[in-house]
């Protein structure tokens, strides 16, 4: 999951997320109609995605059947988890800036108190404006 994705790689991955496990020829026949390209290009793209650990494969006869290792949502969830890990623990290695830290145990009452304080200030401002 640590590699950059090219446009074709992204398209192949998106296709495999929707399709059943499939071999290079089937992938090629789909892309041939939509965007062109040779079987060789598709084969090397699948190979690259396999090396990037985004695809798995099983041998079926002479050809490999490719399938996504993780579902789309799961991959995005994993990436979010990884990049936001830093700011959640206020890690010294943090390189991400987030709108708010995430926690499931924030004190609800404390947040209600803050909300009430904001409302109070709002009303105060409104009264001043009315005068």
């Amino acid at each position: 999951m640590s590699m950059q994705l090219g446009e074709l790689e992204k398209q192949v991955l998106e296709y495999l997320w929707k399709a059943k496990p499939t071999d290079a020829k089937q992938v090629h026949s789909y892309f041939e109609k939509n965007r062109g390209g040779t079987l060789n290009t598709i084969q090397s793209t699948l190979e690259r995605l396999f090396k990037k650990e985004l695809l798995g494969r099983v041998k079926n006869g002479h050809a490999y059947q490719y399938f996504p290792k993780v579902a789309r949502q799961e991959l995005i969830g994993q990436l979010i988890k990884n990049v936001t890990h830093d700011f959640v623990v206020e890690d010294e290695n943090s390189v991400v800036a987030a709108f708010s830290s995430i926690s499931s145990e924030l004190d609800e009452r404390q947040l209600d108190k803050l909300e009430a304080m904001i409302e109070q200030q709002r009303q105060k401002l409104q009264k001043i404006a009315e005068k």
Binding site: Q73, I80, V83, V95, V96, A97, S104, L106, I118
Partner: protein, 322 residues
């Protein structure tokens, strides 16, 4: 053992390392004494002061090295200064000595930090790139990513982008989303991911508890500064504060990091959100930049560090031979 110009270079590097260590200790003590007073300064001033704290050992070490160099030590007008601090036999350097040992330890430590930080940078760079590819570009530098987790963050050290999840878009009003995006765009404007990375590199040379406080304070200052970036009146301040509380309440139901559900973390979070809301509601006057104090502190720290290097050198040379 080597002689001449190269010996001088190695001796000056040893001076730099010793001055850095001494300065680091004095800067840590100074920070510990004044840290509670930093909240009386505006966010921008606080950020500059925090940068000065983490960079001070480097600046002081540079001053001390210049002072011990022939530039100062050979000039007749600096005779009184050279009595204060001087380096013995600057043109002879022993490889099997505490000089070279301290130099090697420092270089080793710096390489260790640098490699670690670069690895983090590399991993983050690719993960952010992958998120960009999988997301949909909503507007310039803003990507929507398909996830039920309500989240918004800015990532990408050299080419920062904002990311908001579909979970957040679905569960938040359009006005709140706009506020969140503006907050994230402020991080892009300030290049906060890159600054965070650099700040974490420079603070890595401090003791663990000091380093944690530095990072927490800088992180909070960056968030406060992004909170107020687009604010033009008090009404907008209230809106941002309200969105912040609403978002925190929403995110609280979606913990993706259960391993950090501990008291310490919860307190930090609460503390941070509370401080940000109070900062938005507060219209108090902050103290101006303490220019005089900063100049005097740097001068004194440089003087103390330079004389301490000389003192330390004398003590070690008296107790042990090379």
């Amino acid at each position: 053992m080597i002689y001449g110009q190269w010996a001088l270079v190695f001796n000056l590097l040893t001076v730099a390392v010793l001055a850095f260590i001494v300065a680091n200790i004095f800067v840590s003590i100074t920070f510990w004494l004044v840290k509670s007073k930093l909240q009386h300064y505006a966010v921008s001033t606080r950020k500059v002061l925090l940068w000065l704290f983490v960079l001070a050992p480097w600046l002081i070490s540079l001053c001390a090295t210049l002072f011990f160099s022939p530039l100062f030590q050979n000039g007749s007008i600096f005779v009184w200064l050279t009595d204060l601090a001087h380096w013995h036999h600057p043109d002879i350097f022993y490889f099997l000595s505490w000089h070279s040992a301290s130099l090697l330890i420092f270089i080793g430590f710096t390489l260790y930090i640098l490699i670690r930080k670069i690895m983090i940078l590399y991993r983050n760079h690719h993960q952010i790139n992958l998120l960009r590819v999988l997301g949909v570009e909503k507007s310039k530098q803003v990507y929507v990513i398909e996830s039920s987790i309500p989240t918004a963050f800015t990532g990408g050290v050299f080419r920062p982008s904002c990311f908001i999840s579909t979970g957040l878009v679905e569960q938040t009003s359009a006005d709140d989303i706009e506020i969140i995006i503006q907050h994230e765009l402020a991080h892009v404007h300030y290049s906060d991911p890159l600054k965070k990375w650099l700040f974490s590199f420079f603070s890595a040379y401090f003791a663990s508890n000091i380093k944690q406080i530095f990072i927490s304070m800088m992180s909070l200052s960056m968030e406060q500064s992004a909170d107020s970036f687009f604010i033009r009146n008090q009404q907008q301040s209230h809106n941002v504060a309200s969105t912040l509380v609403k978002f925190t309440k929403l995110a609280a139901n979606y913990s993706i990091h259960p391993q950090y559900k501990n008291e310490l973390f919860v307190h930090f979070c609460r503390h941070s959100i509370e401080q940000r809301v109070l900062h938005l509601l507060n219209d108090k006057q902050f103290r101006p930049f303490p220019m005089g104090g900063v100049v005097i502190a740097i001068f004194l720290l440089a003087l103390i560090s330079t004389t301490s290097v000389d003192g330390l050198h004398h003590v070690i040379e008296t107790l042990f031979t090379h």
